[in-house]
């Protein structure tokens, strides 16, 4: 098959970098699965991790079929058009200096992780089917429009609000939806009555590490080129979380005299969230300041939230909503034309802070209201919450038919032809005849049950 002639506007270096960046951002969703999965109880580990993994399938597909067109197809100030439905007209032609397909893929990985972020607010109680319906519809009805407003030629972009890699589009957006979802679902039944402890803190650290790694693609990739701005965003993605982590550890030590691992993982994520909107617009020393300042609101928001009845279980609102809000506003303060962006409050354009605030406010309002409507809509058709018994048992077995950590003891293989024929008690007795338990079980079985 003859290779098509290279299209003139496509740049090889940019394309190579953006393919790597797309893979990096894709990795963030499984990373989030580990981050969230480690934070819940063992009986909900698979359910929580699947909420992220399933977003790859559900939201990824919705993005290709319709989401991309709604976000980036030509349209009005509020919504993109139908021009790229089913990826029509998304081919090898140049989009900037990239193949159009690659740009679509890169943006798709953002849609997936944004939807998956919301799951942290409703873990350990939401049914899986309604969750999938919610994030799929949310990616079309909320993510795509907000993405269009800021990046797709919509009204916030035209207003002059700047968002380098998604402080507003991704984090404020997901944070607002998470707040509403936690409120609509209501708290877990054990919330405030029992200690709900993370079952695997090493998973949380692993998740934070992989998120940071992937975030280099998220922020530096948002330059959409292998150029100096990408290098700046990359550097800031290193420096801001470093500062947030340092401040977070200090706050932890100051408050409890201990530096916690879950706190460190949270601090890293908050720093990454905060630098996201500013990554390619501010200098490296400003990034350190931004990262350090951003630690405070999220740290105290988490402390405050856990004393309320709002069971935003994994603090999506405090980490992503508050972190994204602080980052987006500080972008309007610290942005500097010297570094290739626009000027902000400190560099002579106080109005930029107002534009940033408008973008944050509009996203909060729209995402909050639309998420509420979607959840109520789905809730009117099917129950959103798992039954009390399932919640007590943990959602892994009732919702997925699997356990995260099985011993395998007492598990009987069901062979297709024997399944119908053999009485259960007999199969059980045969399956564990060699184990010591058999004697005890035989005594408990009603007489004649195996006959």
């Amino acid at each position: 098959m003859p290779t098509p002639p290279p299209l003139p506007a496509i740049n090889g270096a940019d394309t190579a970098w953006m393919m790597v960046a797309t893979a990096l951002v894709l990795l963030m969703t499984p990373a989030l699965a580990f981050f969230y999965g480690g934070l819940v109880r063992a009986k909900n580990a698979l359910n929580t991790m699947m909420m992220s993994f399933a977003a790859l399938g559900a939201v990824g597909l919705a993005w290709a079929l319709a989401g991309y067109s709604l976000a980036f197809g030509d349209g009005g100030p509020l919504l993109g058009g139908t021009r790229h439905l089913f990826l029509r007209g998304v081919g090898l032609e140049a989009h900037g200096t990239l193949p159009h397909l690659l740009f679509m893929s890169y943006q798709g990985t953002f849609a997936v992780i944004t939807a998956a972020l919301i799951s942290g607010a409703i873990v350990e109680r939401m049914r899986f089917g309604p969750y999938l319906a919610f994030i799929t519809l949310w990616s079309l009805a909320v993510y795509a429009p907000v993405c269009h407003w800021v990046w797709g030629g919509g009204w916030l972009g035209n207003l002059g609000a700047i968002d380098f890699a998604g402080g507003t589009v991704v984090h404020v957006n997901a944070g607002a939806a998470a707040l509403v979802a936690a409120a609509v679902l209501g708290p877990r039944r054990d919330y405030g009555r029992q200690a709900l402890l993370p079952h695997n803190v090493p998973f949380v650290l692993l998740g934070a590490a992989l998120l940071w790694f992937g975030w280099f693609g998220f922020n530096a990739g948002s330059a959409l080129a292998a150029n100096a701005t990408a290098g700046l965003a990359f550097t800031n993605t290193l420096l801001a979380p470093v500062a947030t982590l340092a401040v977070w550890m200090a706050l932890d030590r100051f408050r409890t005299r201990k530096t916690t691992a879950v706190g460190a993982a949270t601090g890293i994520v908050v720093g990454l969230v905060a630098i996201t909107p500013a990554a390619g617009f501010i200098g490296p020393m400003s990034a350190i300041v931004l990262g350090a300042v951003a630690a405070f609101p999220s740290y105290y928001a988490i402390l405050y939230r856990s004393r309320t009845r709002l069971d935003d279980s994994l603090d999506v609102t405090a980490a992503h909503g508050v972190g994204g809000l602080v980052g987006a506003l500080l972008t309007g303060v610290l942005a500097s034309a010297v570094w290739g962006g626009k000027n902000g409050l400190l560099t002579g354009d106080p109005a930029q802070l107002g534009r940033q605030a408008a973008a944050v406010g509009a996203t909060l309002l729209y995402s909050g209201a639309a998420s509420f409507a979607l959840l109520k809509l789905i809730g009117a058709v099917v129950p959103l919450r798992a039954e009390r018994r399932q919640e007590a048992l943990g959602l892994d077995v009732p919702q997925h038919g699997e356990e995260a950590y099985t011993s395998g003891e007492g598990a009987i293989l069901v062979l297709p032809d024997l399944a119908a024929a053999a009485p259960t008690a007999m199969a059980l007795a045969a399956g564990i005849a060699s184990s010591q338990a058999a004697a005890g079980l035989a005594a408990e079985m009603p007489a004649g049950s195996g006959a």
Binding site: E402, A411, L413, E444
Partner: protein
């Protein structure tokens, strides 16, 4: 003196502990265990294999009590571990020949009375 062995649902453990604490039953040992008490087996699937989980996770509590505390302990467990569905567990009450507290060498009644 009796040894009370109770098998309860893991998700009920915190309620059971709370009830025992309120009943002033202070010394106990718990262990994770698995068993089968006639409940419907849960079916799980791993790739192509379908399995029935014949053994269900349970928690076992072992509590040595003096005679006046036997009924109190049983009542507390009955109240807190009950759901009404098959699989709530069992309480066994066993005679105890002798109890010795290792730290002090106290025997019998003194050994099951909470240390001050």
């Amino acid at each position: 003196m009796k040894l009370i062995t109770a098998i309860v649902r893991p998700e009920k453990l915190s309620e059971v502990l709370e009830a025992l604490f309120k009943a002033e039953v202070r010394g106990l040992t718990i262990s994770r265990s698995q068993g089968h008490g006639g409940e419907t087996e849960q079916v799980e699937t791993y790739r192509g294999s379908t399995v029935k989980m014949g053994l269900v996770d349970k928690v076992r509590l072992d509590i040595g009590v003096s005679d006046p505390f036997v009924q109190v302990t049983i009542d507390a467990i009955l109240r807190s571990a009950h759901t009404g569905e098959v699989g709530d567990g069992k309480i066994f009450v066993l005679p105890v020949e002798k109890v010795i507290r290792i730290r002090t060498g106290d025997e019998d009644l003194a050994a099951v009375t909470p240390a001050v």
